[in-house]
Symmetry: C2
Subunit: 430 residues, 2 copies
């Protein structure tokens, strides 16, 4: 029986997992595809390097073109990461009629449309389940299982590093910097944590999810991003007192007129909401559909074998489509025009932590500012009495309000004499 | 453009939802399938009955064969329920080359293998996403997304009625009978609740999930079933005190030698486990894979539109496969021989609630029985002191023990003079 032959770009953590699963589950894979699956060539940086698993040295190459131009390779699996030159490799592979499986969220968020267009032109498939939320099959769910529904909202904890940090801060009362150092020591955070803690990694994933869910081409620059660097232990403590957990949450919304907004920001989530109990490096994505209502998909967001599971499931799908002669028909191109909400149209509840003078009349002045901008207050709380400087903390939670109006309130409050500091501002969900 | 033409068996709750979604989301469906989808004929019991939605009377028929024998109908959607004569209709439709979409768990649990075999013989697809857990796309996830993994365990809350009852008992301290009556009044439980409260509905779903997950033909009679009729308010209270929720849990397990066990029973689940917070009529399924680790899928387990969402997603899949000319290639037949675990091989932790004489030496006698059968005790608790009759409750939680050995312990305890009653026995998870 003629095997399906794959080429693998990258033999790092995920690539090693792919080799493990393809070898370890060969019998099951063969049952499903109807042919053996063989990894024929593997691109590595250094052929002489010691490997975690035994690999036939004859399969290793340091030249990507040896794989991309090999006419005997049917499917290219890309787990090397990076945007350049990876994009060039994928486009060349598609050009020569190869199917592509990739785990590369950066590439798919930035150039997904271009890559998909090339795939359609050449009648090839591009699968990218592993690019979002590791082992959670959210891409396939959005494309296939909710094909009949109109998705109105996707919220997700899609970055394990930041969720690990916030969970530790919440459970152990530790400070941001200390937990970040610990996460780095454990390998959960990189030496340069920017991409994770500033929310960029989550933003890339949300751009991919929103594009699929809303069938609208959402670009990375359409995502409003705020990371977790400014989250304090105090914020988390107050959140918990009020019945919330503070999570870095991706939120993509679409209204009845197909106006959309996509953001990533630290958000207060009601403890009773299923996302609030997603802890550590786990990921979860909630999908809301007009018909289906609320659903949630939970699992490991990263890791060698979870991510490789998604890659190999894609490999099976690509191999089946190839054998059936139906490659290139899986994904529908986004067909809805992109109409982004303005800050006047984006609405949510907000949490505000102020440091104010602790005396009569102050609350009236503050409430006046909210009223001036038409923002309605849901609750006000003074968590402790004034300190020696005659100041106290004041927490205000608003009803649903426009982001623009709330921003104006926060700006005006900054300028009030009785407000010493606007300490924190968060979106509130659930 | 030639439309894809479907026939619908049944215009009850789910059938009405299917018509609503096919009409309401026609544009999106057409984008995905490449043709309009038309529901051409609908089987009803009484053509003259008033309908929840406007339906062209010319489409209605009281004769199923008018649909099954219509050569212009490509896809049969079955949402009428029941086993006979529904099975006959489906087999006849497949025989004449029609694709089949069904929401019928009873039928798939009892005759799934026969129906799938007929479909393979005729090169047709049978999709049945809606048969398990309504709007949660768990069938597609098991077949496609975890195709590369070796699934070792599936646990699930897959019956909304019993979960509603247990949630109410837990949250409101109400008694079983009272909550059941309330659930019946709200339409969450049927007038004859047997199928739900005795665990049969959940058992059918677990048989389907185990068959797909383990690629082994698991029959309904392979599932060890116990319902919730005997669950008392006291059991739930003690469970909560110990940090557990009591849930009707389906558990399918497979060990490294492919020995499997499938059961449905009220089970104590640690509160920190994601399944413990699944409340009301929601469903959730946890899937454990060797590679992926722990995942969970959560959503509405029933309801008109959630269930119809799954049916129409299947309709889209069937229509796409038809147009691509690849029908009948989706599902792999279970290929692993069925080897069921014996009660000696099934192991778990157990909870035991005894009513015993409250005096010195009693615990020693009881502990002796556990030791005799090699069952190790994790903890013992006496939740309150003795009553006027000189008796007290005693809770024992075991370490992992064989089901047979634990059964022998419980049997021997019944016969001890110092044990007035073995009040409750539950499996413990998490």
């Amino acid at each position: 029986m003629k095997p399906i032959r794959a080429g693998l770009l990258g033999l790092g953590t995920v690539g090693t997992g792919v080799v493990r699963i393809v070898e370890g589950h060969q019998e099951d894979l063969q049952r499903q595809v109807g042919s053996p699956i063989e990894i024929r060539k593997i691109l590595v940086k250094d052929k002489t390097k010691a490997r975690e698993i035994p690999v036939d040295p004859a399969k290793l190459t340091e030249d990507p073109w040896e794989i991309i131009h090999d006419p005997d390779i049917d499917i290219l699996i890309e787990v090397m990461g990076g945007v350049e030159p990876t994009k060039e490799y994928l486009l060349a592979a598609l050009e020569s009629g190869k199917q592509v499986v990739t785990a590369n969220k950066d590439l798919m968020a930035l150039y997904g449309q271009e890559i998909m267009a090339k795939a359609r032109e050449k009648g090839c498939d591009v699968f990218f389940e592993a690019s979002v939320a590791g082992g959670i099959p959210i891409i396939r769910t959005l494309i296939e299982s909710f094909s009949s529904d109109r998705i109105t909202k996707i919220t997700g904890i899609v970055n394990g590093t930041t969720n690990y940090i916030l969970t530790k801060m919440s459970q152990e009362g530790a400070a941001y910097e200390a937990v970040l150092k610990e996460a780095q020591a454990l390998g959960y955070a990189e030496a340069d944590p920017t991409s994770d803690v500033d929310g960029l990694d989550a933003a890339r994933k949300m751009a991919i999810l929103a594009t699929l869910g809303f069938r609208t081409p959402v670009a990375l620059e359409d995502v409003d991003v705020r990371g977790i660097r400014s989250v304090t232990q105090e914020d988390i403590r107050f959140a918990k007192q009020l019945g919330y957990e503070l999570k870095l949450l991706g939120i993509a919304e679409r209204d009845e007129n197909d106006l959309i907004s996509v953001s990533v920001q630290p958000t207060m989530i009601r403890k009773s909401h299923p996302l609030a109990s997603v802890s550590g490096v786990f990921n979860a994505v909630c999908v809301y559909g007009e018909a289906v209502g609320e659903t949630m998909f939970y699992g490991p967001g990263a890791g060698q074998l979870p991510t490789a599971t998604s890659v190999v499931a894609d490999l099976v799908a690509a191999a089946k489509n190839m054998k059936l002669g139906v490659s290139g028909k899986w994904a529908v191109a986004p067909y809805r025009e992109k109409k982004l909400k303005t800050d006047e149209q984006i609405a949510s509840k907000f949490f505000l932590l102020l440091h104010v003078e602790d005396r009569a009349g102050v609350l009236a002045q503050i409430a006046r500012v909210f009223a001036d901008f038409g923002v309605s207050i849901e609750s006000v709380m003074q968590p402790s009495s004034g300190d020696s400087s005659g100041c106290a903390d004041l927490i205000i939670i608003t009803h649903h309000a426009a982001k623009a109006a709330f921003g104006a309130v926060a700006g005006r409050l900054e300028s009030l004499e009785v407000v010493r500091k606007v300490k924190s501002v968060y979106r509130v969900e659930g």
